[in-house]
């Protein structure tokens, strides 16, 4: 939970961002206000195309806002830095390195003073953590999409930054693998207490991982909606949550809030249009309408 006595670890004030020029100019984010405390895990939940990646890029310093300010520990963000680790949905793995080699790149960069054997062991620890021990010697081209994403997650975790920005890190994985990895991420987060901004479109992922859920309203000109505090004890066990009244209530609240936003966004609601003519489809083998004898 946020401590009002402490200045926010990360603060976004009136942040806005547009792309394009003149008539083609599209406002992606408008007046985004967000405060995150040190050690907090905040999930920003929104639809695809609502500006989630733009928001992560702004915090990462990969983009500069048109208006407003972003400050980390009170100092304005002016560009990318090693204090902010980012994982995007597309896994940028080096194709000529093995799984272990890709993860070790991060370990080598952060722990230069460690002996080689220790760095190797540390890389293997994260490879095992994402369930790829059996594939440690494989190259990215030999892996499925889901396995590649696991490597990217392992590499990000191995980087050990001050704040971790996760942009739909598990988006490409199937629901069951995602659940397993969410458990792993929560476990690691509890151990390290890193500040994490998780961007996701998955309400369950947000509920399992986050201290707080902040909805991003659909753009153009997306703003953040009211926060939902996730007051669920940790570690959060999916099976146990299934019985938890607070979980169920919050899950329904957040889901309903987001679907209501979606309903307002949808331009063409289902229904209407011309009536269906009374015509039987042809049985193509017989060349006659299906109902005919």
């Amino acid at each position: 939970m946020r401590d009002p006595a402490k200045p926010p670890f990360l603060a976004l004030r009136g942040v806005s961002k547009s792309f394009g020029h003149g008539a083609k100019r599209t406002e992606i984010l408008r007046d985004v206000e967000l405060e995150i405390s040190e050690g907090e895990l905040v999930a920003i939940v929104g639809f695809s195309g609502s500006g989630k990646t733009t928001l992560v890029s702004l915090i990462a310093g990969l983009l500069a806002p048109d208006g407003g300010t972003i400050a980390l520990r009170g100092a304005p963000v002016r560009g990318p830095g090693p204090d902010r680790g980012v994982v995007f949905q597309s896994y940028a793995l080096l194709p000529w390195l093995t799984v272990q080699g890709n993860v070790q790149l991060a370990v080598d960069a952060v722990h230069r003073d460690w002996p080689r054997a220790r760095r190797r062991a540390e890389a293997m620890r994260f490879v095992e953590l994402v369930g790829l021990a059996h594939a440690a010697a494989k190259r990215p081209s030999e892996l499925s999409g889901g396995m590649r994403q696991r490597v990217a997650v392992a590499r990000a975790l191995a980087m050990d930054p001050e704040i971790l920005l996760l942009d739909e890190p598990l988006g490409a994985l199937d629901a069951l693998t995602r659940a397993t990895l969410q458990g792993e991420i929560e476990r690691i987060w509890r151990a390290q207490r890193k500040t994490v901004v998780l961007v996701t479109n998955d309400v369950d992922e947000a509920l399992v991982l986050a201290d707080r859920i902040v909805p991003l309203k659909p753009g153009p000109g997306a703003t953040l909606g009211p926060s939902f505090d996730v007051r669920l004890a940790r570690p959060r066990d999916r099976a146990a949550l299934n019985h938890d009244l607070t979980f169920k209530k919050l899950r329904n609240e957040v889901t309903s809030y987001l679907l209501e936003l979606a309903a307002r966004r949808t331009t063409g609601a289902p229904g209407g249009g011309p009536a269906l003519p009374a015509l039987e489809p042809l049985d193509l083998r017989r060349g006659a309408p299906r109902g005919a004898a």
């Binding site: 695809s48 693998t177 299934n242 899950r251 987001l258 063409g268 609601a269």
Partner: protein
């Protein structure tokens, strides 16, 4: 009474460089007319193999499939299929993409009638205002809506859905589930869906068939989902039985996952299936 769709002792064996691989064996399932059944199971367990046999895209090695009293021996427009990717022709508009099949299956109708059929179904999926747009101008969710309209436009006896919303973000997925549930309620179409999304299976299904992990995958357990229809999201989520159902499905999947040695076989099954798809 026999079912509208019967899968009887269905089996599929793939030849691999390491010998034959029995992906599916002794798979039995019956669907009543108008029923919605979801097949859930782990990736690579053989769900899609079963669905492609029903679609007539793969031949069973054992057993058979009967739809409305006739054995399936190849693909046909009496079965509409929606895949994860809608595979729309990029140079055609949404309307023209739907017209492709409509023009063949309703060749005995007038031009105006055929246009009306295609338009009707696009309106039904909420695309009435983008009929003339090409796939490149549509969002991923809208493109999949075209795929759904295209399948329904042929008035199929059976709708086959192979993880149709798997590539969509979870919120768009929920929107499309609502579009689908409304269409099914209105048309009474019988449907078999492959998914690994437990909430999706419960929101849509009358019954959920839980598949064991391959090899020799079959129906391990059937769950009847007695949630009132028409299904409405908030009401479904708040139904006193919802989380009990959900727990049963998750528990089954977890039991399967713990099955020792199953994951290596699952990977082999995927390999065999992808080789079969290439061949």
């Amino acid at each position: 009474m026999s079912g509208f769709l019967e899968l009887f002792n269905l089996g599929k064996t793939f030849a691999t460089p390491h010998g034959s691989f029995v992906a599916v064996e002794g798979f039995d399932l019956e669907l009543a007319r108008g029923e919605f059944v979801a097949l859930i199971g782990h990736s690579g367990c053989g769900k899609s193999t079963v669905l492609s046999m029903v679609a007539g895209l793969a031949d069973p090695t054992d057993g058979g499939i009967v739809l409305d009293g006739r054995e399936i021996d190849g693909p046909g427009p009496d079965r509409g299929v929606v895949f994860q990717s809608p595979s729309l022709l990029p140079w055609l508009t949404a309307l023209e993409n739907v017209r492709l099949g409509v023009d063949r299956v309703f060749a005995h109708g007038t031009r105006a009638e055929r246009r009306q059929i295609a338009e009707h179904h696009l309106w039904q999926v909420g695309l009435g205002d983008v009929l003339e747009k090409r796939p490149g101008e549509l969002s991923q969710g809208q493109r999949q809506r075209v795929g759904i309209a295209r399948a329904f436009a042929l008035a199929p006896k059976l709708l086959l859905l192979d993880e149709p919303f798997g590539m969509l973000d979870s919120l768009t997925r929920m929107e499309l589930q609502e579009v689908l549930v409304a269409l099914l309620a209105r048309t009474g179409t019988t449907a078999l869906m492959v998914t690994h999304d437990v909430d999706e299976a419960l929101f849509l299904s009358d019954r959920v068939a839980m598949m064991t992990k391959g090899p020799r995958a079959r129906v391990g357990e059937l769950l009847s989902v007695d949630l009132p229809r028409p299904r409405e999201r908030a009401a479904v989520l708040e139904h006193p039985d919802y989380y009990r159902y959900r727990e049963r499905l998750i528990a089954f999947l977890e039991e399967q996952e713990r099955d020792p040695g199953a994951s290596a076989d699952g990977a082999l099954a995927r390999e065999a299936a992808s080789q079969a798809a290439v061949a």
